[in-house]
Symmetry: D3
Subunit: 242 residues, 6 copies
Amino acid sequence: MRLLVINSNTTDSVTARIAAAARGAARPGTVVEAVSAPFGLPLIVSRADWLVAGPATLAALADRRGSYDAAIIACFGDPGLDAAKELAGVPVIGISEAAFHAACMLGRRFGIVSFTAALRPMFEDVLAHHGLASRCAGFRMGPAFAGDPGLVAEQRAALLVDLCRQSVEQDGAEAVILAGGPLAGLAPVIASQVPVPLVDGTVAAVRLAEALVGLAPPHAAAAPRPRALTGFGDPLARLYAG
Amino acid sequence: MRLLVINSNTTDSVTARIAAAARGAARPGTVVEAVSAPFGLPLIVSRADWLVAGPATLAALADRRGSYDAAIIACFGDPGLDAAKELAGVPVIGISEAAFHAACMLGRRFGIVSFTAALRPMFEDVLAHHGLASRCAGFRMGPAFAGDPGLVAEQRAALLVDLCRQSVEQDGAEAVILAGGPLAGLAPVIASQVPVPLVDGTVAAVRLAEALVGLAPPHAAAAPRPRALTGFGDPLARLYAG
Amino acid sequence: MRLLVINSNTTDSVTARIAAAARGAARPGTVVEAVSAPFGLPLIVSRADWLVAGPATLAALADRRGSYDAAIIACFGDPGLDAAKELAGVPVIGISEAAFHAACMLGRRFGIVSFTAALRPMFEDVLAHHGLASRCAGFRMGPAFAGDPGLVAEQRAALLVDLCRQSVEQDGAEAVILAGGPLAGLAPVIASQVPVPLVDGTVAAVRLAEALVGLAPPHAAAAPRPRALTGFGDPLARLYAG
Amino acid sequence: MRLLVINSNTTDSVTARIAAAARGAARPGTVVEAVSAPFGLPLIVSRADWLVAGPATLAALADRRGSYDAAIIACFGDPGLDAAKELAGVPVIGISEAAFHAACMLGRRFGIVSFTAALRPMFEDVLAHHGLASRCAGFRMGPAFAGDPGLVAEQRAALLVDLCRQSVEQDGAEAVILAGGPLAGLAPVIASQVPVPLVDGTVAAVRLAEALVGLAPPHAAAAPRPRALTGFGDPLARLYAG
Amino acid sequence: MRLLVINSNTTDSVTARIAAAARGAARPGTVVEAVSAPFGLPLIVSRADWLVAGPATLAALADRRGSYDAAIIACFGDPGLDAAKELAGVPVIGISEAAFHAACMLGRRFGIVSFTAALRPMFEDVLAHHGLASRCAGFRMGPAFAGDPGLVAEQRAALLVDLCRQSVEQDGAEAVILAGGPLAGLAPVIASQVPVPLVDGTVAAVRLAEALVGLAPPHAAAAPRPRALTGFGDPLARLYAG
Amino acid sequence: MRLLVINSNTTDSVTARIAAAARGAARPGTVVEAVSAPFGLPLIVSRADWLVAGPATLAALADRRGSYDAAIIACFGDPGLDAAKELAGVPVIGISEAAFHAACMLGRRFGIVSFTAALRPMFEDVLAHHGLASRCAGFRMGPAFAGDPGLVAEQRAALLVDLCRQSVEQDGAEAVILAGGPLAGLAPVIASQVPVPLVDGTVAAVRLAEALVGLAPPHAAAAPRPRALTGFGDPLARLYAG
């Protein structure tokens, strides 16, 4: 199967890192193509960022229409997810969504651990959106972080192990989601120090996307009612041209 | 006060109609400016439409930055709302949000009535997003509608009165929201035939936006961290330029 | 418009303070009349107090029937609110209710801050009654307080700033309600030290009551079925006399 | 044990009927004293009625203070319940509360059946207040009823059997609450025609009140802080006099 | 009445202790018979234990079929409860279920206190199963415990008093459940040091089981459809033999 | 990978049918072993059945311990699921659980369709257990069915298509679960007549089990504390023997 992985921001070095992680998680027969958002922002940290990342993500999907069997939105917060599901005609899954569902299947209640409390409101929003708040044992977040996001996983690894253990021992978590883009790849590094399954969003999304392909009999995708879409460039305009 | 009313689609005739409705609801001292989305779609009916309408709505807000004391997103589904609240530095309210909160203050449980069941998923989404599902007595929606949206309020007025009454008598609604853009302006026409308050989203949003101006002491707006935003044209790029 | 503000207790000095606060928040054209409960208790702190304050509040409303366009129940806990909405024929809003709805419109999740944990059960009750628990980021309450309520806002101002900041930084609150009668008027004093909107219940209620007048087309008020009401004095007995 | 049963309205014939029902449900050692509210309304049908019934109910409790081991508030909607629990120093239970908890213990999900949809909003309120909405399989209510409440149980018995069966067969109810004062005593009459337990609020309250006496070790009751209470007559004033 | 009390584990000394506690709580006319599970485990601490305890509990019920008027499942977590209710034809109540419902009737929100956080996931599960999470003010649990369960109540009594007080003062609990088998009997010992009702599951279950007998008119029990049940021994096989 | 599929009942012909369905859904590299419960019941239709099926299912898992990489509990209601997850040391998933999570990932709200309303309580229970009630658009169930379960899918195919369409058009379902063992295999037959994805529990479970293997880094399984387990035969006794 062909799996399109969309980095919702425009930073190609991040896209390359996501591509490597996705390929590492994929089955032999899965061909991973990873793309950056064709426009938008180099980094997504606020609600406004998340908003503009939505159509940028959808544009990436529209641009490759027909060339993939499933797609992943590789950005916590799942920008553009509901619209992508509506239009894609193939399974589309976000990495937050994937982490939540995988964690539910691996344990009765899951903790959400991240390096900074600044991400909590966004995780609360997306958790509520997916309707899984009752399965969440709680958040354990580190203090404000002003350094280089690319180094935070290494710099705060010991703190994160502590937070994972608190989540298990004090909150009763039976699986833990390591949340936040900069923590991608950390799970196997610290797994031996945490007594429950550690879930990485990208890995979960790759495995679940593979599972969803062919899970349900095909049905017709909902093409948008043809209309003139302005301001978003070619791929989305073509999608709406009918 | 200066109130910016944003029609999240690009159809100026709809904007003119919304402007008239907003002016009819506004206090004497309120100056209403209504604008169309600077780009996007002429009509918003699906989740994908709603997604692209988000940045288009935010662009309209950014374009007039500094020229208004509050803003209204005059599109059911409230596209771009959370981002707009984050960035605007002044109150921003969506017409779904306004209708839900106004209805809550006017009655213990509210019904949602619209002309077609096709809108129900979107209303369910936005109701859940605002966390008010427990205040909703239920939906009463008409059958599929394939005609001219501009005429549906008139053509289905009798049906809508019936649905409102069912909502009151069978579901226990103590206020009813007439939901869906094409029903704007219908509330005063049929109010005498319905025994509870009928809420119109645009009217509610105007009144509540006026109320929110000055309600809380001013605090600094959160300007976005400066970054290069591409693909959305001038107003949003400037907003992100810092 | 004429706005009746009811202090649900019988202490006229408190009524005078509420009246001043309400007038400070009201628009130029709003005529504020503030009244004490015609009977009941000088101070409301327990569930039993709250219970007896309900008919006392309703009696104040009944006594002035026809002389106001909207009314405010200026007592946290909103005693008598649902009955008042049922009977008044004009909008009635409680200050807890107003604070919750205003805070929702100003931020995605709101914190509730007060000077003493002793008030938490009552706030939990009224929050649940209004169905908005999922919008609340959490409570931050000071320790037991045995001093003069009239001085607590001043004495605990620094503590309250700390609690507000904890609510924002640790709980992710995007608006904060300063809850409890004795904190009325504190919001503008400490607002500059808190990075999100601070909501005062009385101010919120005045602004929202003004908004609700005329928001929905008039409908007939529900007069009570005529019956002999005993034990509550003239205004309520007349209301029930039909 | 001595059980005080309070009819929250002032109609002694209703009190007599409740007394008989309570005595029929009580154990041999239980002495039932039934009293009417000392003031208030002859019939309770609206939210305002319910409000004034609260202090009237509390006054009846205060008047007999020290003469009972537990008390029942024999009025659907449980007026004054939370205040009564706070002050009584002995168990107090409402008939709605009792019906909900008993039904939960008798079946996984319970239906609520009544003779008229007009009562639904009140039942929804009290169900939500007790936090048991997720255990309720749904409401099945008859149409508007304009006749003599004293005859409705008989006149609508066949309809009520049908509604009970619909609740079981279509909603999956495993216990059914016959709700509404006028249906007291109907359960044994129609029980053989309904395949699940039928719960009567007064019977449930008597049995559960007996159970609660001595269930937990005694603890000090919370006497109200002494204050001058005006407007409610002797028993409540004395209660507050300290 | 005849009350069957089932210890879901196979340890007769525990059964004897439960029997004594149940007899201490029962009314004079109640004949308590306590039995151990006829097979299964000597101690129940995990989800797998709880699972095998379910049919073992049901077998005890089946074995004495016809010899009791109500039954209690005296094991936190209520193993086999829903099946037992389905088949018994008489009221069956679990001690978790009983504690939750009793606590709800004794206070608006209840705390759950136990000696070790290890039990929290199981209590969360059973609390959610009974749908009463919104009535729970929170958990206060001691640290890991590796000693003799038979001594923990004595060894940690002071800690448990502290946890109860924190539940009341910081979480707003108005009743507290002392949860976990090894704490049975502790409530009267520490009650004078805690300002709200302390609920013991076994005592609550005995009192509520007595209350449920005769509460609703009898209805036919659901006998299982006759089938060959293998692997569970005589009592369950006979139950299924029809 | 080696996938153990457990039919929680003892009927080998059903096991054979499940095995065929699982093999049809599995990837080439997946080796499916299907086993019947080693003891228990030939058909599972009630809560008591479900209870005894739990340890029977766990025994099947214990019997093959070490011979599979993941397991599926192929019985709606997911008997034994939480215990199996606790003990297996590899992913275990139930077909209800799988259907719910897959449906969530394929559409915003899912409908549950089955041939008879008699199954609704069990589906409600398991839906609530997995915490996904807010994602469910509603149930559409056929009338009581007294015929041969093996023929119901064929006999009621047209009715089921109608129910699926009602779920989509009236309830807003964006995916539909065909629930109930006898409907296994029906999805591809009727998919072309339903405009949204149709989810079959067994297929979903196979695909999701494959996805979960290796999704999270390995962690130590929780072996039960060694104890003498009686009454369940060899595999479970050995599991507990340590």
